[in-house]
Amino acid sequence: AQSVTQLDSQVPVFEEAPVELRCNYSSSVSVYLFWYVQYPNQGLQLLLKYLSGSTLVKGINGFEAEFNKSQTSFHLRKPSVHISDTAEYFCAVSDPRRQKLVFGQGTRLTINP
């Protein structure tokens, strides 16, 4: 079985500052990794995903994430955040043999002007 831990439930940052949202996972098999964003009162939108290949993955809205197999981590980063990045961010894994996503508890990113 897989599990995902998002180490911070809330992250406040100032506008134009860099941000890192941390994600660690546990799995006995290789997994695919995802970051989704949920804006207020909306569904989830895919930011980026790692399937294989380069461990640095670039996504939409200037976000990127790095897969680290030895540390079982998939941290999300953005060099300069904007007010519009205020949202909840979910890290997820999927077992290649199955279809479901297993999500972390989410990190609420709050941007202060």
């Binding site: 695919y32 989704y36 009162n41 909306q42 569904g43 989830l44 939108q45 895919l46 995903k49 399937l51 979910f90 997820a92 999927s94 290649p96 199955r98 279809q99 479901k100 996503l101 297993v102 999500f103 972390g104 508890q105 989410g106």
Partner: protein
């Protein structure tokens, strides 16, 4: 093009009543998923459809929960004899094929409140 749509957007019901939640996936998407998002449990997988069959129902919390999909398109999640702990946002997602790492596209959800 049109995304995943869900109806109703909000549903308030009384304990013990049955409810039906509807999901319209993106046209041509063969895989469909239901998830539940609640304060205490976060985002949980409920059931997955490939076409009209459900190879994975492992997330359904009890036999009060059932789902079906017809015509390889619309899906309905039914909760019988609702309980207060069923209050949550029910999210539907679809993906193009049953592919490895295929992106799941989510609808806006149905917010269910059981009084």
């Amino acid at each position: 093009g049109a995304g995943v749509s869900q109806s109703p957007s909000n549903k308030v019901t009384e304990k013990g009543k049955d409810v039906e939640l509807r999901c319209d996936p993106i046209s041509g998407h063969t895989a469909l998923y239901w998830y539940r998002q609640s304060l205490g449990q976060g985002l949980e997988f409920l059931i997955y459809f490939q076409g009209n069959s459900a190879p994975d129902k492992s997330g359904l919390p009890s036999d009060r929960f059932s789902a079906e999909r017809t015509g390889g398109s619309v899906s309905t999640l039914t909760i019988q004899r609702t309980q207060q702990e069923d209050s949550a946002v029910y999210l539907c997602a679809s993906s193009l094929v049953r592919g490895l790492g295929e992106t799941q596209y989510f609808g806006p959800g149905t917010r269910l409140l059981v009084l």
